[in-house]
């Protein structure tokens, strides 16, 4: 499901467009514009996935996690939409007053695939979250995306979020990475 082959790197022009798309996406999420994000930046055939990865010895030959295994996120489009809807009910006490989330997106590498309009894009992230008076957390990892060209923009088709930390040092991971 998540092993679309990455072919040659995209041109600098396309790389620029894709980078701008990623920055725009981060801006929407930072501003709490989740509806705009899900309506315009996300494809209806989405798979949004954050596997749980154990610490294993290098001699361990068991396979990597698949979408059939335990995962923190393993959502289709409607499921992510429901997560957005929950945030907009006005009854999420933890988000009133709102917390701030800041995305630093770097190391964007984009590749062509077999399809003209689809690209494999890898990026690193640091997400900082601040809440209440002193509460703060940071999450570091990488994303492996399949991105589709749609009209003037792009839509997210698949996202695999890999967190670097085994134990999450935060109350929850209810953040769109």
């Amino acid at each position: 499901m998540h092993n679309t082959e990455a072919k040659e790197r995209v041109s600098s022009e396309l790389h620029y467009e894709l980078s701008q798309h990623y920055y725009q996406e981060a801006t929407l999420l930072q501003n709490g514009e989740f509806n705009t994000w899900i309506e315009t930046f996300v494809a209806k055939d989405l798979h949004y996935w954050m596997p749980v990865t154990e610490r294993r010895y290098s001699k361990d030959k068991r396979p990597e996690p698949t979408p059939y295994d335990m995962a923190i996120y393993n959502d289709d489009y409607d499921e992510v939409k429901d997560r957005v809807a929950r945030l907009l009910t006005g009854a999420v006490w933890m988000e009133d007053p709102r917390s701030t989330v800041r995305y630093l997106i770097t190391n964007i590498e984009a590749f062509h695939t077999d399809k003209d309009d689809e690209f494999v894009v890898r990026s690193n992230f640091v997400v900082y979250r601040h809440r209440g008076q002193l509460e703060h957390s940071e999450h570091v990892g990488c994303r492996q995306d399949l991105i589709r060209k749609v009209g003037n923009g792009f839509q997210l088709v698949r996202r695999k979020v890999s967190l670097d930390a085994r134990v999450t040092e935060d109350k929850n991971l209810y953040i769109f990475f």
Binding site: R56, A71, D82, A91, M94, D170, K171, Y174
Partner: protein, 460 residues
């Protein structure tokens, strides 16, 4: 100074706020509670083959659990008998032996020291390897669920569970095949006292409608009606709450086992087919529970939601922090497709990014951290809801409360907590076996209530 013998008042149903905060109280818990209780380790399905191992924690102690070459389960402290280094740093795997990274001592899967580098040349063959095994821990399993205990004088796991085992059998035996856990566990840190989530899972039906209003709105369905704690709901008719001798307890919402699962075609089909078999196997009272949704804690720090099927351990890390581990419960006789559906839905609602679990974090943390204030910390917390509306029940063992929205299970949890904190030994605790339920004085509650119901029915 905190009086350890007066942390809990079972008459007024209150607990000192120090139980969430005080370091001395915590130190005593580590000794009297975590040092003496059976603590959840893993499920046997994660240790199927010889040499399989997992690492976990018993309170703050790191432990290794293995399937030894003779087929038996072993558990030992994850610390080398040379200079104390941790000997295993992986979450799980399969191995013939564990080699300490510091100086290379080698331990077998039963914790014996089998080899030491330079044994002849530098230890002159004088090292007494037999006396240098890893510290072993008692290990027993109940229906495949593996527990460990540091205390040689503790009762067997089965006796420690007591009546709670009768309830657990509802799904741990079920229609015959029972259940297992799916990992690897999600893990996260929460800056709360370990008892806040434990009490929440053991007996807090009350918070659901308020805390989780947002998720319930989006979900709709059976539990959608709980959002906002609407006064017109007949809570007394919708379920019960139970507590038992050793503090284990739960609340049940009738006919709501799978209500939290937004996608549940396979699970619904499974339940429909299985409930009659459970009735045949275990009788009607438990078949009814099989179709209910349970919020539970196994004393002291293992909680789960049967139905939603999340399974958690709250490992303490000092009085103000825990490490949460979450697995998913699946019925062994479900289709693979059904199991995958359950894993996905359980993680979605109660995993680290859970649509419901994410609501709870602030409650847990704030109820703990607010006690930084010494003036705040004075006095007691209240758990009187439904006091007196509980007692012995003709069908269900333990003490049964009238509604899943009540604090019967809080009372039972803290009653046993105080008993363990005050007791010098398991003998002291055993001496109280006959009288543990004295603090639930309304002995005829259910008899009277059932008789009144019958009379009412006749009158109609």
């Amino acid at each position: 100074m905190v009086d350890i013998n007066k942390l809990v008042d079972t008459k007024s149903s209150t607990q000192s706020k120090e139980v969430f905060w005080d370091q001395e109280v915590y130190d005593r818990e580590i000794k009297n509670i975590f040092g003496r209780s059976w603590l959840f380790l893993t499920h046997e399905c994660m240790l199927e083959k010889k040499g399989d191992f997992i690492t976990t924690k018993m309170a703050e102690d790191s432990v290794i659990v293995t399937r030894h070459t003779d087929g038996s389960l072993k558990a030992f402290v994850n610390s080398c008998t040379h200079r104390g280094n941790s000997i295993c740093t992986a979450d799980s795997g399969n191995t013939k032996s564990f080699v300490c990274n510091y100086h290379g001592w080698v331990f077998s899967t039963d914790g014996k020291l089998v080899d030491v580098p330079l044994r002849e040349k530098c230890y002159h063959d004088e090292l007494d390897r037999d006396s240098l095994s890893l510290k072993t821990i008692r290990v027993e399993s109940y229906r495949g669920f593996v527990f460990g205990c540091f205390d040689e004088t503790a009762p067997s796991l089965e006796d420690f569970l007591g009546d709670w085992g009768w309830y657990l059998d509802t799904w741990m035996v079920g229609a015959g095949e029972g259940a297992e856990l799916v990992g690897p566990p999600m893990k996260s840190i929460l800056k709360c006292n370990w008892k806040v989530p434990t009490e929440n899972f053991v007996g807090d039906g009350y918070h659901v409608g308020w805390t989780h209003a947002s998720a319930l709105h989006v979900l709709g369905g059976e539990l959608g009606g709980l959002a906002g704690n609407q006064a017109e709901m007949p809570f007394d008719e919708l379920g019960i709450q139970v507590t038992t001798r050793h503090g284990h307890g739960f609340g049940v919402i009738d006919n709501a086992a799978i209500a939290i699962h937004a996608k549940r075609d396979e699970y619904a089909k499974y339940m429909e087919e299985t409930i009659p078999k459970v009735a045949e196997n275990l009788g009607e009272p438990r078949a009814k529970l099989f179709n209910g949704h349970w919020n539970c804690s196994t004393f002291p720090n293992c909680s789960f939601l049967y139905g939603t099927n999340i399974f958690k351990v709250w490992h303490p890390r000092g009085p103000h922090e825990i490490e949460v581990w979450s697995w998913v419960i699946v019925h062994k006789d479900m289709s693979d497709e059904g199991k995958r559906e359950v894993v996905k839905q359980a993680a979605r609602s109660f995993g680290t990014a859970g649509t419901l679990e994410s609501d709870d974090g602030d409650n847990m943390v704030q109820s703990t951290q607010v006690n930084r204030g010494s003036y705040t910390r004075e006095g007691a917390m209240n758990s009187t809801m439904g006091q007196g509306y509980e007692g012995e029940h003709p069908d269900y063992p333990g003490i049964v409360g009238s509604s899943f929205i009540g604090e019967t299970s809080y009372r039972g949890f803290y009653r046993f907590y105080q008993e363990m904190m005050s007791a010098d030994s398991w003998d002291d605790i055993r001496a109280n076996d006959e009288h543990w339920a004295d603090c639930f004085p309304n002995k005829n509650y259910w008899k009277d209530r059932i008789a009144a119901k019958a009379a009412e029915a006749e009158g109609e």
